[in-house]
């Protein structure tokens, strides 16, 4: 069967998809944590600015962000971004907006009394955050963060539009070259199946992580 000949390419495409979505997720987590922190700030101005950031990038389709980064930034700055860099930035922008929501929700889920009890023992504000708030908040953040990863991984398929050869683009290229053969529709089924398996695995992994971190019995 013709697909066997292309299996190496599919595995490589899957690897690239996992890689770009993983890099984008790490960036999204870092930026999202900062934005999320800002959204719980006491300062009105910081809450406003970070809120605008989050609403902005959550509202724009990733594809539009991607076009803006890939073509727009090049026009504005003259810097030629590679398709990988452009796609990573676009995914990270959208991901960080979603992550900021996750972080904000996690931090706000911690009862006020926790901070007060810790402050009352003489801990400094940063110690309270480090030892009391974040260890509890992260447990709350894990399930929705897994959701963000899954949607980032799916959104990474849009990078195919600007010619970045990840899993979807690999599939489309294979389909092109086998046109007329029986494999041309089958290849899409195979690609879809790979996405399902990978995302299911990620969800299971996330559930295990959640289970392991559960301190309520």
């Amino acid at each position: 069967m013709i697909l066997i000949d292309y299996s190496f390419l599919l595995i490589r495409g899957l690897g690239i998809t996992l890689w770009i979505s993983w890099v984008a997720l790490l960036l999204a987590a870092l930026i999202g944590a900062l934005i999320g922190l800002g959204r719980t700030s006491k300062r009105w101005s910081i809450r406003f600015l970070t809120g605008v950031y989050a609403e902005f990038f959550r509202s724009i389709p990733v594809l539009v962000t991607l076009f803006f980064v890939y073509y727009g930034l090049t026009l504005l700055t003259g810097i030629n971004l590679s398709t990988f860099v452009a796609a990573t930035i676009a995914l990270a922008l959208e991901g960080s907006a979603m992550m900021s929501e996750v972080v904000r929700g996690g931090l706000q889920s911690i009862a006020k009394g926790q901070r007060e009890a810790a402050l009352s023992t003489g801990m400094k504000a940063w110690q309270v955050e480090l030892f009391i708030v974040w260890p509890q908040a992260i447990r709350v953040m894990i399930p929705p963060a897994v959701g963000v990863y899954v949607s980032t991984l799916k959104a990474s398929s849009l990078a195919s539009v600007i010619g970045y050869v990840e899993l979807t683009k690999t599939g489309l290229l294979i389909r092109e070259s086998v046109r007329g053969h029986s494999g041309s529709l089958l290849i899409l089924v195979v690609i879809a199946t790979i996405y399902v398996i990978i995302n299911f695995a990620i969800s299971r992994l996330g559930a295990m992580l959640e289970e392991r971190n559960n301190f309520v019995n």
Partner: protein
């Protein structure tokens, strides 16, 4: 409010001095012109109807809330919720909350050792040893490795007392420590508080437990409508209240219906 660093008070003074303190949230006045002193070793019980600012007052003493006017002086240091030195002040004031506020992600032992290690810089070994002393004190040495969710309310509150004790504070504040407990565990917590009082701990207790107030308190302060109505020996306030409002309150709690 004056916050000059030179403005401190001589140590022989009361451990806690409260001078004409007023607290408001926006336009809403919580309490107004509160003044009293607490001497070292005293057990002062604050009673009164709900919503008269008793809990908020405790929170002002350790700077969880700021005050709008007046002055709170603890061991010669002015309490200012917005200053940096509030952190060092809180080390010397233990606080017990109505809802225990134990850290759910840490074991009972870790709840107790965290502040001694992070704030006082104790080694884990020393902190563990001292924590076990505290657990014996609250009679929970067999539950040290349990998580808060595995403990009953009474046990959780006793861990919270151990957590405060581990910092060896010179004042312990109790904010309705038994209000969230099942009736059958209230006694355990009160017994431990009574023991602390006998050890000579200085305590400021907001409670509705009149038996405890009468039996253990050196002084009782009756608050209503954001002011101190009466301040004196508990037996006096309970048996011969001078003010009409104290009378009404005492009647309503001692002889319900």
């Amino acid at each position: 409010m004056s916050t000059e660093p030179g403005l401190s008070v001589i140590q022989t003074d009361p451990i806690l001095r409260v001078d004409s303190v007023t607290k408001s949230f926006g336009k809403k006045i919580i309490f107004n012109n509160i003044s009293f002193n607490v001497q070292a070793g005293q057990v002062v019980v604050i009673v009164g109807p709900s919503g008269t600012g008793k809990s908020t007052f405790l929170r002002c003493v350790n700077g969880l809330e700021d005050i709008q006017s007046g002055r709170i002086v603890f061991e010669g240091d002015i309490v200012n919720a917005h200053s940096k030195n509030i952190v060092s002040l809180r080390k010397r004031i233990g606080m017990i909350f109505q809802n225990f506020n134990l850290y759910p992600h840490l074991t009972a032992l870790e709840n107790v050792t965290l502040a001694p290690m992070k704030v006082l810089g104790e080694s884990r070994k020393l902190a563990d040893e001292r924590a076990m002393d505290m657990f014996r004190k609250v009679r929970l040495e067999h539950r040290a490795s349990a998580y808060p969710s595995q403990l009953s309310g009474g046990e959780q509150q006793r861990v919270a007392i151990a957590r405060a004790l581990a910092m060896n504070p010179s004042l312990m504040m109790f904010d309705e420590p038994t209000s969230a407990l099942d009736p059958e565990t209230v006694g355990d917590v009160l017994a431990i508080m009574e023991e602390l009082a006998r050890d000579g701990r200085t305590m400021l207790v907001v409670t509705h437990e009149m038996g405890f107030a009468d039996h253990v308190g050196d002084r009782m302060i009756f608050m209503d409508g954001g002011t101190i109505i009466e301040d004196g020996p508990p037996s006096e306030l309970l048996k011969n209240p001078k003010e009409k409002r104290t009378q009404q309150f005492v009647n309503s709690v001692l002889r319900p219906n």
